[in-house]
Assembly symmetry: C2
Homo-oligomer: 177 residues x 2
DNA sequence: GGCCCCTCCTTGAACTTTAAACAAATGGCC
DNA sequence: GGCCATTTGTTTAAAGTTCAAGGAGGGGCC
């Protein structure tokens, strides 16, 4: 797919606007982004699968639970924090429960509700594997970037993340699907 | 998981070094990165699944093929360009072949080899769906970032991407697995 | 109360990805 | 030529994710 560097706008009222193609420079940025993100994802998934026996997303769930009061969170709340769908979370928690790292608990206030609770076992696994994971993240990311770049990266990704979860009702957010 | 802001180094020769935890600031950067990447991935996957009937990765494969001479690439070459494993690629191409968007061809020079070839059908789908996809990428990323930020992002992700695919032999690269 | 719509979470099937094993062909080496 | 390690790509099964559907409870409204 050749992406023309730029293109004239169409004359007047036609809905099929001329696409706003990416410039060569934008194209390069986008490709580095996708490559970096893909490789990083693969790298961390592999590291955690090897050392902790779970994918990166599952590890992230344990982290969120560990940080929460009483090491527990409502399912929807956890899905929101992890930016995933409730369905995906249900399956994930089922697996983690089978491992004995998480347990479910009924919510007293709302009979529809469920808490996911990090078990002592789960906390132990997290403690054991956290150092290796942090090290992997450091080596892949922070050790390679200047202070400036780290700050930029945070700011940029914050903008993207916030752009994708608008406050408006009706937004297509994973945890509301 | 609480991540201490910093920690003293261990005395001398003990292998289990004190983990180099992330500082609060690094922690924030890392979380925005993961959130942004997760949401973006979800967003684009969904957009393409809806409008093109395939996941983002598959779309990327068609793009690579469209850019290649004679619209064809060797399997391993394509896996390398897409930063994925050959196994994953095999499955993906099988699916795209079933759709009639890609066809396989034997390599004359190397009887083990296979070409993945973009069909006219595949090219058509790409042409039809590219505008919508570019627009989605723009809205989510480029429209929200300054020129400066775009440049930074490219540079940063290039560093990360290159760091994860060292030239050395024995590197754990997806397409060599 | 009864009704209706919405939220919370789960389920099963279809699809995608990973992991491990494999067949076939290549290429270096003797 | 013959041998052996490596490369190429596929295959199978298991694991993970998405999609569509659904059960059950909450909460407003009459």
């Amino acid at each position: 797919m050749k992406a023309p560097a730029s293109a004239p706008t169409t004359g007047s009222t036609a809905p099929p606007q001329e696409p706003r193609w990416l410039t060569d420079e934008e194209q390069r940025v986008w490709r580095w982004f996708m490559e970096g993100a893909t490789l990083l994802d693969d790298h961390l998934d592999r590291q955690l699968q090897r050392d902790a026996g779970m994918p990166h997303v599952y590890y992230g769930l344990l982290v969120k639970l560990a940080e929460a009061p009483r090491r527990r969170l409502r399912m929807t709340e956890l899905a929101m924090l992890a930016k995933i769908t409730r369905s995906r979370l249900s399956h994930a928690i089922a697996r983690l429960e089978k491992n004995g790292w998480v347990r479910r608990e009924d919510c007293p206030d709302d009979k529809r509700g469920q808490f996911a609770v990090l078990t002592d076992e789960g906390l132990k696994v997290l403690r054991q594997t956290a150092p290796g994971h942090v090290e992997a993240v450091r080596q892949a990311v922070f050790d390679r970037l200047s202070q400036e770049q780290q700050k930029s990266l945070g700011e940029i990704m914050r903008i993207i993340a916030e752009g994708l979860q608008p406050a408006e009702a009706g937004a297509d957010l994973p945890w509301l699907r």
